[in-house]
């Protein structure tokens, strides 16, 4: 190709037309410090948030331990500590829930002392209302 010839000019034009600018590589010192700084800030953020979580967990555990200790202390002071040894309960069974004997989970005790939860409640209310109507 002759220098300055039309074919060279054409090539140069094509080169200009097809110019590609690639991505810059590497980093400057400032960029490094900013990148590392961002990671450090994130790590500090993670640390502070974790500390908040650990403190909340410790405070909660401390509260639960104190509450449990309080309940045990109260329980230890009680004269009667087991429901089946409670003479009043035994009397209720003898007089009413299972006449003449102490029979836990008697039919009457089952119906009166056991309750319903969640989806069973609407049906239970209907049952109680119908019994109420029958009694009236």
């Amino acid at each position: 190709m002759v220098v300055g010839s039309p074919s060279e000019e054409k090539c140069i034009r094509r080169e200009i037309k097809m110019k590609f600018f690639g991505e810059r590589e590497g980093m400057t010192r400032r960029q490094f410090f900013k990148g590392a700084g961002m990671l450090t800030v994130s790590a500090i953020f993670l640390g502070a948030f974790s500390k908040l979580g650990f403190d909340a967990f410790a405070a909660s555990t401390d509260y639960i331990e104190k509450r449990a200790a309080g309940l045990y202390a109260l329980d230890e002071k009680m004269a009667i500590r087991k429901s089946h040894e409670n003479p009043e309960i035994a009397q209720i069974y003898k007089d009413f829930l299972s006449p003449g004997e102490v029979k836990p989970v008697s039919e009457k005790a089952h119906h009166l002392l056991h309750t319903k939860y969640g989806k069973d409640i609407p049906n239970f209310i209907t049952e109680l209302k119908s019994k109420q109507n029958e009694a009236a």
Partner: protein
């Protein structure tokens, strides 16, 4: 407009891959989160019911966390350059913000001030996305892994932060999608992040004049 004809590689392969991974994870997280927060059966059923949606949400959260973490580890130079760019607010950036880059119809602008690789709006979005992601990740994992041992008050705090950050992020990403893929002035950028990474030099010279000048100088 510059009369330079050519292409500029704006986003490398790894950056685009990370963007795709994060986009897919974010979309799944957003949809599943909305489904079980508001109890929307239609969305929940897409993921096979609420129990599956919850499971998918958690593992998408892992991808949402590990994706950028791996990218930063493997491309620390790119990450550092990105942080450098978005933390560099010059006089032109504030001027750009004053006229909102000419994107608002009733603010008349002949020529928006020259911008870096990312304009002032994108820089602000970058910071909000970074801090939003950190908050969502930090609050998300305790809700999953330590929900049985953490006190209810702390978990409630995590739920509130997680929910409100997610709402703001969804709105931000919606705006980002509108400007990057739909708005006639800027949708030319769409293919550079979603497809081949290249953008016309002419467009770059106009939208990111400062960055393009640096590229020309280095060339």
């Amino acid at each position: 407009m510059s009369n330079i004809k050519g292409k500029v590689l704006k986003h490398g392969t790894q950056t685009r891959t990370m963007h795709w991974v994060h986009l897919i994870a974010f979309t799944i997280l957003g949809l599943t989160g909305i489904a079980f927060y508001w109890n929307i059966d239609i969305i929940g059923n897409i993921f096979g019911g609420f129990a599956n949606a919850s499971l998918i949400h958690r593992w998408a959260g892992v991808v949402f966390t590990v994706g950028p973490a791996l990218y930063i580890l493997l491309n620390f130079d790119r990450f550092s350059r990105f942080i450098d760019t978005i933390s560099n607010f010059s006089k032109e950036d504030f001027q750009w913000l004053k006229v909102m880059g000419g994107y608002i119809p009733f603010i008349k602008v002949d020529e928006a001030p020259p911008q870096d690789k990312y304009n002032a709006g994108q820089k602000m979005l970058g910071w909000m996305i970074i801090f939003g992601c950190i908050l969502i990740i930090l609050t998300g994992f305790p809700m999953w892994l330590w929900r049985h041992s953490l006190p209810a008050a702390f978990l409630g705090f995590c739920y509130d932060i997680h929910f409100w950050t997610a709402m703001i992020m969804i709105l931000l990403v919606g705006g980002h999608f509108f400007l990057a893929a739909i708005h006639p002035k800027s949708r030319v950028e769409f293919s550079s992040m979603m497809l081949d990474g290249y953008i016309d030099a002419e467009i770059s010279a106009h939208h990111n004049a400062k960055w393009f000048a640096e590229l020309k100088e280095a060339d």
